[in-house]
Symmetry: C2
Subunit: 224 residues, 2 copies
């Protein structure tokens, strides 16, 4: 059975990505990263999703990005914006996807897995540079040169099954595959119980996605 | 003053790289990574070198690569080889330089530093794929697409001042710049006092380098 490492944040997109990798017949190793994110309750969500969807192993690696700050998601002194922003928003975490893919690359090499899945999306992506197809392609090229697997002629490929889907399409696909979206946490400032604010950009994109998909929003919102 | 992030392992190469970055007029931010390496005493060496050479800040970030294993440097069940090997040796750590450069990239972006220094070398490099110039070039291309700095038109450049130098040339340059090599730890299985085994590949390359440079070897070796 082909092995795959799936980056699993605990949000809607990565849960759907895991379900899709599983449906494609991969033996799934889920990787979550505790990087000092404000919404650490997403890590509990990741554990529930990994269990619900039946992964071979779920690993959470710790890296302290809060120590360097520079993002509303890692620096408590930078507020999460609650109105739409232009350009790259303050919730962008410097080099986060590069770092997560690097961790996935290392684990994939140890497991002899040649597939890495990441739930990036170029439509509802908030303007993050490291969610674009050209970034993924450049990472893949770099990874082929970085690793023993690449030198041996079987480099890891980065799979991005959501890259051109709308949020509504992602949700419909996940519903079809049995993803329990009530277990997922997308909110940038979810409380310790995993309840969403309903106001940040991630909440807004998610809410519109359920509306556009014609699916009742199962998100647990925090009381105002 | 231009800022630079310098990856500082505590070994001979990275200490020399830091001295060269400083001599080039950079304001130096040194980054060490505690990744579960067997020779954790190199981290103490990194702290001494950072202090001796006068960096603006020295940060040690932790990532648990020992949890995934797959290398003689992170898995205590895989012995460090003490005879020359062909191909990529068991001391290769999957995706390590990708990961370290990713951490440096994130910190550089927060600091608004556009230079990252890494002491890779294509001559005395043990066959590690992630020490080659083509890997560095691919990482740089990827980084330009990954980051806000890249989108804004001032991506980080990866500086590799040692890439084409022999170990003897590196040592002569470091001596000229006042690097205290007695403080550095290169050995893959240095003891907790930072004393070298004298037998692993890293020790052999280092020892030959001092001989070729005509410089007395200041390495502290562990008693047999």
């Amino acid at each position: 059975m082909r092995k795959a490492v799936i980056l699993l944040s605990g949000g809607l997109d990565s849960a759907t990505t895991l379900a899709m990798a599983r449906a494609d017949g991969f033996d799934c190793y889920a990787l979550s990263v505790a990087y000092g994110q404000r919404h650490a309750s997403e890590l509990g969500a990741a554990a529930r999703i990994a269990q619900n969807l039946g992964v071979r192993e779920h690993r959470t690696m710790r890296v302290d990005l809060a120590g360097i700050g520079g993002s509303a998601l890692t620096d408590p002194d930078i507020a999460v914006p609650e109105v739409p922003m232009t350009g790259i928003p303050s919730t962008y975490v410097p080099a986060r996807n590069t770092l997560m893919l690097a961790l996935a690359l290392g684990w994939a090499e140890v497991l002899n897995a040649r597939a890495i899945f990441i739930g990036v999306n170029c439509l509802d992506y908030s303007g993050y540079p490291d969610c674009r197809a050209e970034f993924i392609s450049a990472f893949e090229n770099m990874a082929a040169l970085a690793t023993r697997a690449g030198v041996d002629g079987h480099p890891s490929r980065i799979h991005t099954p959501l890259i051109t889907l709308t949020k509504a399409e992602i949700i419909r696909e996940g519903m079809r595959l049995g993803v329990d979206y009530a277990s997922t946490v997308s909110c940038y400032q979810a409380d310790e119980l995993g309840r969403a604010c309903g106001r940040c950009e991630s909440c807004r994109i998610r809410k519109s996605g359920f509306e556009a998909a014609g699916v009742a929003d199962p998100t647990r919102y925090a009381p105002l």
